[in-house]
């Protein structure tokens, strides 16, 4: 029973920390974020496993994390408020030639990060970007300014 409780706590704690630590996975993931994700995962494992290196423990904990993840995804689908709390909301970083500085500061995103996303889209300069949006999965979507 203790192993299952440890798995529940470990999973929820990790989800919470990753949510609070910032939304920069995926394409915006720098080596710093890699360190964060792997290090936290490793540390959580030590207390989740403890001295129970049995197959039974591993199966029970994997099943627990699986069920919990399913429950979280289900709750996310059923409740828009819960989805907002777990995933956040898309955020505008740049629109019509204006930086949204409050969002950039709080989300710890550099203008260079936006330019990286723009280059990825084949754009050479920032004035070709009409909108830059930080998506809920951490990626930056770029909408190109139309040629007029």
């Amino acid at each position: 029973m203790a192993a299952v409780l440890r798995a529940i706590f470990g999973y929820l704690f990790l989800v919470f920390i990753v949510r609070v630590a910032g939304r920069r996975p995926g394409k915006q993931m720098t080596p710093f974020e890699f360190v964060l994700i792997f290090f936290m995962g490793g540390l959580t494992l030590t207390f989740m496993v403890g001295d129970e290196a049995s197959l039974t423990n591993a199966l029970c904990q994997i099943a627990t994390v699986g069920v919990l993840h399913y429950a979280l995804v289900l709750a996310r689908r059923k409740s828009p408020r819960f989805a907002l709390a777990t995933d956040g909301t898309p955020l505008v970083l740049l629109a019509n030639g204006q930086w949204y500085t409050e969002t950039l500061t709080h989300m710890r995103i550099l203008r260079e990060d936006v330019m990286t996303a723009a280059r990825d889209k084949g754009l050479a300069t920032l004035d070709q970007v009409k909108y830059a949006i930080l998506e809920r999965n951490g990626e930056i979507s770029i909408i190109q300014a139309s040629d007029e």
Partner: protein, 185 residues
């Protein structure tokens, strides 16, 4: 064959510049940023408290106590961690030695709750009784000390007692020590 279920597409997601459906919720986001700030303060506090030893294995966790009769000086950790090794050291005064031997009674919580793994040095004998274990050690010269290698088996509050029943004291006849240990999960 049942028809595939469908629903009409509604333009329900809030737009920016009246052209791109983003669904940004700044009211929620500002509340979240305030919450995040509070969480970082709590995390910083946790780190500082941990460095100070408030959760064990640091300066605040270490305890040093003398018994009233001067038979024992006890070094222990008042805050332990579950399944984490630590050492309980008992230094004996001259009054503890009787006929070249030291007798030490420890409550069974030292074994059960605090998870005693071994006693250093090895006692000459150990007798179970009265809710504890009576160890007898050979002692030739002072200062002498005994160490208990602990590894707590349960989180919670553990209470332990130590006595030197054979100490040559006028009053009280038995020199005792008791303490509470918090075992962090």
């Amino acid at each position: 064959m049942a028809a595939t279920q469908t629903a009409p597409v509604e333009d329900s997601i809030a737009k920016i510049g009246n052209e791109v459906a983003v669904g940004e919720d700044m009211q929620f986001q500002r509340r979240w940023w305030r919450f995040e700030k509070a969480v970082w303060v709590v995390f910083l506090l946790i780190v500082l408290l941990d460095l100070a030893g408030a959760f064990g294995r640091g300066p605040l966790a270490k305890a040093h106590a003398n018994t009233r009769g001067g038979t024992m000086v006890v070094d222990y950790e008042r805050i332990e961690r579950f399944s984490t090794p630590s050492i309980l050291t008992i230094h004996f005064g001259p009054s503890a030695v009787v006929d070249g031997r030291i007798q030490l009674w420890v409550s069974d919580s030292v074994v059960k709750e605090l998870g005693n793994q071994r006693v250093i040095p090895e006692p000459v004998s150990s007798v179970i009784g009265n809710g504890g274990i009576l160890y007898t050690f050979a002692a030739t010269s002072l200062p002498d000390s005994v160490e208990f290698a602990l590894q707590p088996s349960h989180p919670g509050i553990a209470h332990f007692e130590l006595r030197v029943p054979g100490a040559t004291l006028d009053a009280p006849l038995r020199d005792e020590f008791e303490a509470k240990v918090v075992v962090m999960p």
